[in-house]
Amino acid sequence: MPKVSTMSLTDEEIRYLRDAIAREPNSVELSMVSAEWSEHCSYKSSKPYLKIFSTEGRYVLVGPGYDAGVLDIGDGMLLTVHIESHNHPSAVEPYGGAATGIGGVIRDILSMGSRPIALLNALRFGDIRHDNHARWLFKNVVRGIADYGNCIGVPTVAGEVEFDDSFTNYCLVDVACIGIARRDRLVMLKGDADDLIVVAGNRTGRDGIHGASFASRAFEGEEEDRSAVQIPDPFMGKLLIDATMECVEKGCVKAIKDLGGGGLACCLSETADRLGKGMLVMLDALHVRESMSAEEMMISESQERMLYIVEPSRLEEFKAIMDKYEIPYSVLGRLTDDGYLSIYHDGKQVARIKASIVANAPIARRNAVKPPYIEEIAANSRKPEMPEYEDVAEIILELLADPSIASKEWVYRQYDHEVGLRTVVKPGYADASVLRIGLRHDRDDEDADGKYRYIAVKVDGNSKHCYIDPYNGSMGCFSEACRNVACVGAEPIAMVDHLQFGSPEDEHVFWTFIESVRGLADYGRYMKIPCVGGKVSFYNETRQGAIKPTPLVCVVGLVGDGSMVMKGHAGDGDMLMIIGLTKDEMGGSEYYEYIHSTLSADVPKVDLEYDKHARDAVLALVRSGLLTSVHDCSKGGLAVAIAEMCIASGIGARVELSNVPHTCTRLDDLLFSESHSRFLVSLRRDYLDAVNRVLADYPVHKAVIGAFNSDSDSLLLEYKGSSISISMDSMLDAYSSIARLMGHGG
C-alpha cells in the first residue's frame, strides 16, 4: 500500500485543515485533501490572478469555473470549449500520457451534456533534429493522440507544434476540445438530497495514484513515476460518449462530472461543494479491478470513469443505457443535505469532512519578482551581422526547414480530421480550421431544422516571445490566434487559455505568470473577447530548470455563413498585398534564435487599436469575397509567409521588397521580423480597386508587393535592383523537413 501522501500539503495547510475541522484529520481525509489541494486541482496559487480576465460577452452562457465554457451561437445551438494539458505523464510515457489527455478533455466536454465534435492540440518538444529522446517523445505523443482521437470518432482538426531547448527531456501536450449541445439539453450541475451518486466506466485500479500530486511538483523523470501515469482505453471512452449522449437525450441524469485529476476525492468534493450538498458514499460498492484501500480508491486516477447524479425514479432508465453499452457502473451512495462527505468502507466510516473544506484550498500567497535574465537579455542585445543579400535565399530555406516553421503534415495526416462531416477547412489548407455545426441528424444534440453555423478554431503559443517578454509575448499569442481565425473569415468570439509555467514557488517564475495573465487579460478586454475557461499548469520543470513560460490561447471564431468561409489559394496572375506595418522587432524571432542563436529584448508588441483595425480590415475583405487567399504573417516573418503562400498555392511569385510598409533599418529585419497585425492577401488584379475601396475605411498600412506567376517555378525576391531566386522545389523540400526527420509516415 502506498504511503499516504501528505508531503504535498505544507505545514501551514495541515494547520489550516486542523483548524477548519477542529480535530486531527485521519489518513483518508488527508489523502483526499492533499489531492484536492494540489496545485493541479485547487489553483491555489493562480486563482486570485485569474479574476482579471474579462469573462462576459454577447455569446457567453457559462464562463470559467465549470468543466467547459459554454457559448450560445443562436437558434438553440451551444458550443462548449475546454483545454487541458497532460505534460508530466506525457514526459514519462508519451503514448499513454497524450492519449489519456485526450480522454480527459473529452470527458470535460461530456460533463456539460455536450457532444465532443473536434479536438485541437498544441505540442512542444526539445530539438528533434539532434535529440533522439525528443524525437521519441514527439513520435509517441502524436501516435497517442491519433490512436485515441481516431478511435473515438472525434476529429482532430487543428493544432500547432513548437520546438525549443527549454523543453529538452520534457514536453508540453495540450489538448482542446469543442463540443456542441442543444440549449434545452445543456446539463448544469443539479441535485437534491437522496439523488443517487453513480460511477460508470472503467474499473478503478491502482493506476494514476497521486497523478495530481505528481503534476504538482517538478518533473524528475524517475522510473517510478510511471505508476502515476494512467492507462488509456479509447474503446471505453467511446462507449462513455455514446452512453452519456443517450442519457442526456433521455434527460435521465441531473449532473455529470468527469473523474480526472485527483480521482473520486476531487470529483466528489467539487460536485458536492458546487451543489451545496453532502454525500453519503459506500466505497464497497465501487467496481474495482483489484483489492484496494479506501485511500487508494479515493485518489486513484483510473481513466474513462464518469460520475452521474441520477434521480432514483430514473435509475432504471439510466441502467438500461449503461447495460446496452455494457458499461460497468456502481451506485455509490446518495446526496444528503448536511454538506458532509461521509465515506464508508468495510462497514466503517473512514472519512467525514465538509465538502466545502475539501473543495476550497487556502490560497497560497506567492512572491513575484522580475527575473534578472530579462534585464540581462536587454543589456546584451546586439544585432547579428547583416547577411549578404545573396545569402538570404539560404536563410529562408533554413527557416522553412526549422521544425517550428516547417509543414506539420507528418502530424495531421495521422489524425482523422474528417469524421463527423463537419470539417469544412481542413488542416494544411488555411491558418485555422472551420467546422460546420448543426447537422440534421434527428437525434440528441444537433440542430433539427438544418441551419448551419460555421466556426473557426485555432490554438497558438510562442514560448520564445513569452520567455523574453511575457506580457507582450502572451498578448501576441492571443493576437495571432485571432488573426488566424480571421484568415478563414471568422470573428473571434471567445477564448480559453492554458497557462504553463515552472514552479509558482519560484518568485521569478511567478512574475512571468502574472505578466502573462495581464497580457492576455488586457488584449481580451480591449477586443471584447471573453475568456470562457482555461487551465493553469505549474511545476513544468526538469532538472535543467523551468520551461519557458508557455501560455496558450485557443480562440473560437464565428463565420457569417458557409459562403463566407475563406477557402482558397492564390492563382496565376493574382496580386500579393500586405496589410500591416513591419517593425524592427526581432526579439524571440526564429531568425534570431534558430539561425543566430541570439536572444534579443525587442519582442514584437501588439498595438491594440492597430491590431483591431488590421483584423477588421481583413475580415471585411474576406466577407466581401474579394480575396483568393489570406495568410497571417508570424513565425519566420514576411519572407517565410510569402514562401508558405507559394508552397500552399503551388505557384511561384515575384515580390518587390522595397514596397513593403516598414520602419526597419535593415533588410534582414524587414524580411524576418515577427511584428504582429500583418496579413498577406492574394487577389485578382481586377479586384484591386474594390479592395482598396474596402481598405479605405481602415487606418492600416497596405501595399501591393508582388504577383503570383504560374509560369515561374521560383520565388523571386527583389530589393532595390538586386534579386534572389528560390526554386519551388527547394522550398518544398525544406518545408517537408519533419517528415524526413521522423521517417516516412502519412
Binding site: C151, F235, L239, E418
Partner: protein, 246 residues
C-alpha cells in the same frame, strides 16, 4: 413504399451518424440504426451499410470481433439472398473477416494512420455493383481515406480469379498505403456486396471537399454522392419502389 436502408452499429462504430445524415438529409430516404445485438432482421430493409470506425476498438484484428456478432450472421444471410451490402473502411474489414469478401488487411506501409484525399478509379463496368451503377468504367472519383490497417492483400491465385470475375471494383490512382494492386474496393462474385476503404459519405457535400477535389458536373455535390445515388437508382429500378429519384 419508401426505400429503407439499415446502418449496422457496433460498439466503436464512428461513421454511423455520418452515413445516416447522407441517407436521410441528402438522399432523402429512410435510414435506421441497427444495434449489433439484433438477429431478428428480415427483408424489412432494402440495403445494409456497415459504416467505418473502430468496432470493438479493432482488438485482436480490425473487424474480427464484429464479424462474430449476431447482426452479422443475419447480414450474411441477407447478402446471400442478394441484398446490396456496402462496407466502408472498418465495414470493409468486417465484411472480409465475415468471409463475405475475399482478402485481408495489413498495416499501412507508413505504419501510421493516414487521413488524406485520394483519386479512386472504377475498374469494372458500373453495372457490376448496385453502388457503381451510375459511374462509367474508368471514371475517377475524389474521395478521402482514413485508416491504419488499410493495406489490402490477397494471394496471387485469388487476385487472378478476382480479376477474371471482375471483383476488383476500385483501384487507387495514388495508392496511399501500399494496397496490393492499388486495390481500394472489391465486390463478391455476385456483385451485391461491396467493400471500399475510402469514405464516400465524406465526399458527398461539396463544402466538405478540398478545392479541386470534385467533378464540377455534380453541381454542389462531391464525387462520393455517386455511390449513394447509384444504390438508390438501383433500388428504384428493381421496381418495388415508386417514388422517383430526386
Amino acid at each position: 413504399m419508401p426505400i429503407r436502408i439499415g446502418i449496422v452499429v457496433f460498439p466503436g462504430s464512428n461513421c454511423d451518424r455520418d452515413i445516416y445524415h447522407i441517407l436521410k438529409n441528402i438522399m432523402r430516404v429512410d435510414a435506421e440504426f441497427i444495434w449489433h445485438k439484433r438477429d431478428d432482421l428480415n427483408a424489412y430493409y432494402d440495403a445494409m451499410i456497415i459504416p467505418g470506425g473502430f468496432a470493438y476498438a479493432d482488438r485482436l484484428r480490425a473487424g474480427v470481433i464484429a464479424a462474430f456478432s449476431p447482426v452479422m450472421q443475419v447480414v450474411k444471410r441477407l447478402a446471400r439472398d442478394g441484398m446490396p451490402v456496402l462496407g466502408i473502411c472498418n465495414g470493409f474489414q468486417i465484411l472480409v473477416e465475415s468471409g463475405l469478401l475475399p482478402g485481408a488487411f495489413m498495416r499501412n506501409d507508413s505504419l501510421t494512420f493516414i487521413c488524406r484525399w485520394t483519386r479512386l478509379r472504377l475498374d469494372v463496368d458500373g453495372s457490376r455493383t448496385p453502388f457503381t451503377l451510375l459511374l462509367d468504367k474508368g471514371s475517377i472519383i475524389n474521395i478521402p481515406v482514413a485508416n491504419q490497417e488499410g493495406k489490402y492483400y490477397v494471394d496471387e491465385d485469388t487476385l487472378r480469379e478476382m480479376e477474371r470475375n471482375e471483383q476488383i471494383v476500385f483501384r487507387y490512382e495514388d495508392n496511399p498505403n501500399g494496397s496490393l494492386y492499388d486495390i481500394g474496393g472489391v465486390c463478391n462474385e455476385e456483385g451485391n456486396v461491396l467493400g471500399m476503404m475510402p469514405h464516400p459519405e465524406r465526399a458527398c457535400e461539396i463544402i466538405l471537399a478540398p478545392q479541386h477535389m470534385s467533378n464540377s458536373i455534380l453541381h454542389g455535390y462531391g464525387d462520393g454522392i455517386m455511390i449513394f445515388r447509384s444504390l438508390i437508382s438501383y433500388l428504384y429500378a428493381k421496381g418495388e419502389h415508386h417514388e422517383p429519384y430526386r
